[in-house]
Symmetry: C2
Subunit: 151 residues, 2 copies
């Protein structure tokens, strides 16, 4: 709880997992909650120190890339549980509710997303390369659900 | 995440759910992490404001009782997911690992624990009153596992 019991750390992990962002500037510019630059820097440092992320060896001034560790990837089920809870018990946007519902109802998709993250971040080949990418399936299910629910 | 992304709030909820504590003094005295009195007071207020807890109408100086709401009870799966993650990816005590494993491997026990919490906190009768209490089954499984793993 000391590591994951921090809203900004979870938000940064979520943006890496579901937003595919790996660089400081993308994480800063793409964050919906408007995370401040110094908060993002401190949370990334904290996540690296706690071994949920690694940072490649880019020296100062270069564009460092962050990668999830296995412990970082395994926060996905925690985020799915949090999303399921929020969908039922918090006022939230329609888009977030739709995404949370897809993940809550598709344990196989979550498993494949974990495998996809292992391939991207750890270089471990996916065990089911014949299946379309989990990220693409999530996006497709999301668009279909948004369309079905009207404009 | 604004509500649950706070380590102390999660710890207070955990002590209410798994420790059966309902009063300020019990929560303060029984907390393993040594929560400070002012931190406990602010987190309880925050959990009431966010409708995860209700506080009975005891006036100042009286011994108020806190009850979980349905939204508070539904944080149990989030806590189980967090416990499963911590068991694999954090240094933690043997006792905590044993408890987390029992919960991770027993979805039925978690469901019955949720029903038991609804009975205690919301007055909703358990749908399976013929089954032994989930809290007792958890305690029994815990003691058996601790005994099996030796002194």
């Amino acid at each position: 709880m000391e590591v994951l019991g921090d809203a900004w750390s979870l938000i940064v992990l979520r943006d890496i997992v579901f937003g595919g962002r790996r660089h400081f500037r993308e994480l800063l510019a793409g964050n919906d909650e408007g995370i401040a630059s110094n908060v993002l820097a401190s949370r990334l440092r904290n996540l690296v120190d706690n071994e949920l992320l690694t940072r490649d060896g880019a020296t100062r001034g270069q564009r460092a890339t962050y990668s999830l560790t296995e412990a970082g990837i395994q926060t996905v089920p925690v985020m799915v549980a949090l999303g399921t809870w929020g969908m039922h018990h918090r006022p939230t946007s329609h888009a977030l509710t739709v995404r949370a519902r897809i993940l809550a109802e598709s344990p196989d998709l979550v498993d494949d997303l974990i495998d996809q993250l292992r391939e991207i971040h750890l270089g471990v080949p996916r065990p089911h390369p014949e299946r379309p990418l989990a990220s693409a399936r999530l996006q497709q299910a999301f668009e279909a659900a948004m369309e079905a629910s009207g404009p």
